[in-house]
Amino acid sequence: MSNIIVIAEHINGSLKKVSWSSVTFAKQAAALTGGQVIGLVLGHNIGDVAAEFATSGLDKMLVCDEATFASYLPENFAPAIVKAVQDNDAAIVCASTSTFGKDLLPRVAGLLGAGMVSDAIAIFDDGGLKFKRPLWAGKVITTVEVSTPIKVASVRPTEFDALPAVAAVASEAFASGVSAKEGVEFVSFEQVKSERPELTDADVIVSGGRGLGSEANFNIVMELADKLTGAVGATRAAVDSGYAPNDWQIGQTGKVVAPNLYFAVAISGAIQHLAGMKGSKTIVAINTDADAPIFQVADYGLVADAFEVLPDLTSKL
């Protein structure tokens, strides 16, 4: 019997929704391998995070509340996770494919000598445990197997829907025994302040491309997003041009999203952008160029100037 550890991801004292998707993945893994799904919360003054995570369907929850973990540093988090893995006979460690999971999990895998699957979109048993993951910007899906006894996986949240909350599981204190690593210091986090939902969490996303021409012109995108209580996204080109903050970038190297409704405004549809949004349920493309590749993935295309039609659309909704 071997267990599965899920790392909680949190920000400003609250649990991030992507953690629920990681639990869904872990429960699928447990159904295949047996064992318990064990949540691990690392941080300092994290009562609210733990209280919510306890209701996510875990079999057991470890809470490590130590000053060393007040700020996230992988150099300190990774050895604590390794201890939790060893103490709890875990064979799979997972978290989401967020910048947190991407930064942390390979370091954990290195310390454990474990093989790691990046951005898992499926886990199944076919003569042994196997995982699916995208590569080449999603142009190919590969099936991989991991030969090491302990396996580490980052999980693509859009492929694993959050399960309904259940009665809270009891919390167990966990002592990491980790002392802060010398020569590394968290300096600051400059958060993009927004009243809008998080991109990875939104039902509706309105994204703009470089075709909008300026930061100010992103207003028409934001107005539609706000009308639909949606989030705002951007292409790499728009971010590179300074029209939008990096946190809005959707694509191969940015965020992967799958909302119910995705508006691609003045976006040509480079493969690197499609990699981040083609799992959306309904895609609407608005572009002046009828040959733009975005129309090949769009359910509804409107060949038009965004500056003419978007304000009209916003006002009619």
Partner: protein, 248 residues
């Protein structure tokens, strides 16, 4: 300051990827190769740091002999010498990190500066794994790097905004998209690069077993989206979204 940079020879990201009929791999017939784009940022940044702080830039690649082409490009961008760890085998991120760890032990760099991910395998693991193996600090997804007094202040692109981390050297930093704009390499620099030292060794020379921990056993095309439709007006779009897609 001695900076170790890495390059990976990858398939051109603009090309169509052809999966072999039996799903056993990717067909590379007639495929163009180039330097992994994230490696261009790290090498350009290494060149900038060398201008300010002096020192040496070493470029390391792991792969087939043909990778020397991308290494020469890196030398044209400013790398002083190269080490190719030659293998025709498929190596996973872990093997790459363990090879780089052995090179680090041999070369003792002050800084390892590498791309945050390869745009073919999209794994985003090697820098962090190398940090674990060396027990050095890591600063991933860098958009700015300032080095002084044996420390690097690294601006990082993270979910929710940006973050700053201070790491003592030696450390590993991985480059994100907005670290710099890699310059075009002038032809005379590329010509000069051909004369720079390039050592070829093997994983065995470094004592590294490259048997993969993570092995690909199948390849398939993703599910294609059904063809969509063009609507003629905003009103028609609203009607479709409400009554057909039922998302409004």
């Amino acid at each position: 300051m001695k900076i170790l940079t890495t390059v990976k020879r990858v398939t051109d990201p603009e090309m169509k990827v052809k999966i072999k009929a039996d799903g056993s791999g990717i067909s590379t017939d007639g495929v163009e190769f180039k330097m992994n784009s994230f490696d261009e940022y790290s090498i350009a940044e290494a060149a900038t740091l060398k201008k300010a702080h002096g020192g040496e830039i070493l470029v390391v690649s792991i792969g087939p002999e043909a990778s020397t082409k991308e290494m020469r490009t890196a030398m044209g961008m400013g790398a002083d010498r190269g080490i190719l760890v030659q293998t025709d085998e498929t190596v996973d991120s872990d093997a790459v990190a363990r090879i780089l760890a052995e090179v680090c032990k041999r070369e003792n760099p002050d800084l390892v500066l590498m791309g945050k991910q390869a745009i073919d395998s999209d794994r985003n693991q090697t820098g962090q794994l190398l940090s674990a193996y060396m027990d050095w600090p890591q600063a991933t997804f860098a958009y700015s790097i300032a080095v002084s007094d044996g420390f690097a202040d690294v601006g990082r692109e993270v979910d929710g905004g940006t973050s700053t981390k201070r790491v003592q050297l030696p450390a590993i930093i991985t480059a994100d998209l907005r670290l710099n704009t890699p310059p075009l390499v002038p032809l005379p620099m590329l010509m000069k690069a051909k004369r720079k030292p390039l050592e070829i060794i093997t994983p065995e020379d470094l004592g590294v077993d490259i048997t993969p921990k993570v092995k690909a056993v199948g390849f398939e095309a993703p599910e294609a989206r059904a063809a969509g439709q063009i609507v003629e007006s905003v009103d028609a779009l609203i009607e479709k979204l409400k009554n057909e897609a039922k998302v409004l």
